[in-house]
């Protein structure tokens, strides 16, 4: 279920923790699996559980608790826009509206071509760069004015 490469990466994470605490690597393992598969299907979660010797529901608890794990399929690019107060004061809501309009989808929706999914996010710790936005969880973009959004969308292929 998990590729050799994913297993190798997970092993690296496991090594950070005491020998009897493999479970500590579960957040990394889920992240690694999600990057590889696009989202966390039940089989993927079960595979992670198996790999780390955890009960599947214990892994599911983790996967469903943290926002950045996707328990259902998402587009190739998941755009998460922060609309929390500090961002909202400097255009966060506008940025979300702009994206909704431009992509023709609402929050938690995916464009028909499967390219973009739009999500509403909570504070990303980048309020100084408002509006802040995450691309596929790992790329944090600031100052997302319409121009910047256009540029970003054009660049994402």
């Amino acid at each position: 279920m998990l590729s050799q490469e994913a297993q190798k990466q997970i092993d690296r994470e496991v090594a950070k923790y005491p020998a009897d605490q493999k479970q500590s690597a579960v957040m990394s393992a889920l992240r690694i699996a999600q990057v590889e598969k696009g989202w966390l299907a039940p089989e993927t979660i079960a595979a992670v559980a198996d790999y780390l010797g955890m009960a599947p529901i214990a892994v599911y608890e983790v996967a469903s608790f943290y926002n950045m794990y996707d328990l259902s399929p998402v587009g190739r690019f998941k755009l998460t826009v922060c609309t929390n107060l500090p961002c909202a004061l400097s255009g966060g809501v506008h940025a979300a509206d702009y994206l909704k309009h431009k992509l023709g989808i609402g929050f938690n929706e995916t464009t028909p071509d499967g390219k973009f999914t739009l999500k509403e996010g909570e504070c990303m710790g980048a309020c100084g760069d408002a509006p802040a936005m995450l691309v596929n969880n790992h790329r944090l973009c600031g100052w997302m004015t319409p121009d910047q959004i256009d540029k970003l969308l054009a660049e994402l292929e």
Binding site: Q21, V62, F65, P86, H94, C123, N137, G142, T145
Partner: protein, 439 residues
């Protein structure tokens, strides 16, 4: 001479995070000093106590005192954990520390390990800054390669291992025991205290958790002495503090200033109010700190004591500035949504109460408020306060209580007139795209 900058001093943007740059700025000197002079752990802690450094994560607990709680003669593993979860809306200072000065955090943590006899540390970095998680791992490699980290550091016989652990989208993991649960590979649900982490922490072992900025302050204190640090701030509020300023100012961003600096000075540093509009309200310490109206805020100096006297908290030093275009009901609605969304779901008052408060505020904002709602809101908030496992309950209640208290008439107006005092277009334009801070 007043010292304004300690942690962010001498940084050169993205170019400065490497080990070589840090060493050039005097990095790892504190560690070398401790090892060379064979300072005892007690001496290190004494220096911290003298500095009056208080935790920069929100609660402002004296760091030296916290470190002294770690059991000294404990047989077995002890841990040092750094809290770079930074999820409190308005806070983005730790990100800059991690971005430009990761080695300072590493050095601070190694010293902490030394002072508390802990052999292993973890830095918990929130998932949204994943690139900085990777950067931190690189910095760790550098430190290991240079012999600052790992076994037998600089030939001293002292060993300390440090690893990065990432979050993946849960504000609550900033709460120290939730963070520990998260490192243990569970969902981030806080633990009831007691027992406190100093006796039962990570994997049940004695553990000390500090904020990124707290650890980053440590090397300077060792190099320059606790007294110097204390002097840089004001009594009981030692040193400098990094403020994350967001909202309606001309230059939102991160500002390190001496403790006790007047709020007005900070506002000036930020280029003043955006578009010359009037300050309406300020949340001085991150979204969970009670909001203060402009007049009260303008009288404050930036330190734990002054702001607490004014009825709020310095918290994480996240200053959210709101001008007169802001609808306070809408602002509260967004914050209440946040706390309701981020409640871990564990204990009853928070799980049930945050949703209740959000729904009522949401109704008021959408013209469905009822006259009894304001008393209800305050009562629900009161019933959450002090009844929950962790402080998220309080964090959710404080905004509700303070917004209703200070801006009650605005809420009443909403309920009576089914709309806001501030016209929608004014609200929208006031919170339009704004990018001045970009350099």
């Amino acid at each position: 001479m007043t010292i304004q900058s300690i942690i962010l001093a001498g940084l050169d943007g993205d170019r400065s995070w490497r080990l070589a740059d840090y060493v050039q700025r005097g990095g790892y000197e504190a560690l070398k000093k401790i090892l060379a002079q064979k300072m005892t752990p007690d001496e290190v802690i004494a220096e911290l106590k003298k500095s009056s450094l208080r935790g920069r994560g929100g609660a402002g607990f004296p760091t030296g005192l916290k470190w002294s709680f770690m059991p000294k003669n404990y047989v077995g593993d002890k841990y040092v954990v750094c809290n770079t979860d930074e999820g409190e809306p308005g806070t983005f200072k730790d990100r800059d520390i991690m971005r430009y000065n990761p080695h300072m955090v590493i050095e601070g943590m190694i010293i902490a390990g030394y002072a508390m006899g802990a052999g292993t540390g973890y830095n918990y970095i929130h998932g949204e800054i994943f690139d900085l998680y990777l950067r931190f791992e690189e910095a760790l490699e550098e430190a290991r390669a240079a012999g600052f980290l790992g076994s037998d550091i600089l030939g001293s016989g002292f060993s300390f291992n440090l690893h990065a652990h990432h979050g993946y989208g849960a504000y609550i993991c900033g709460e120290e025991t939730a963070l520990l649960e998260s490192i243990e590979g569970k969902k981030g649900q806080p633990r009831y205290k007691p027992p406190f982490p100093a006796s039962f922490g990570l994997y049940g072992k004695p553990t000390t958790i500090n904020n990124t900025e707290t650890f980053a302050a440590v090397p300077w204190i060792i190099n320059n002495g606790g007294e110097k640090y204390l002097e840089a701030g004001k009594p009981n509020n030692g040193g400098t503090k990094i403020f994350s300023v967001s909202g309606h100012v001309n230059r939102p961003g991160v500002y390190e200033v001496a403790m006790g600096t007047p709020f007005a000075t900070l506002l000036e540093m930020c280029g003043g109010m955006r578009g010359g509009r009037k300050l309406k309200a300020c949340i001085p310490g991150g979204s969970s700190a009670p909001v203060l109206p402009a007049d009260i805020m303008m009288d404050c100096t930036l330190d734990y004591d002054s702001i607490s006297k004014a009825g709020s908290m310095l918290g994480s030093g996240a200053v959210i500035i709101m001008d007169e275009t802001v609808c306070m009901v809408k602002a509260l609605e967004r914050l209440s949504y946040f706390y309701h969304e981020e409640s871990c779901g564990q204990c009853t008052p928070c799980r049930e109460g945050t949703g209740w408060m959000y729904r009522v505020v949401h109704r008021i904002e959408h013209g469905l408020g009822r006259p009894e709602d304001l008393d209800l809101l305050t009562s629900v908030a009161d019933n959450i306060c002090g009844r929950t496992i962790c402080a998220l309950g309080d964090a959710a209640a404080f905004p509700v209580k303070s917004f209703v208290k200070h801006f009650r008439s605005e809420f009443e107006y909403h309920i009576e007139n089914k709309k806001c005092l501030v016209p929608p277009d004014v609200q929208r334009s006031g919170s339009d795209f704004f990018v001045a801070g970009k350099n």
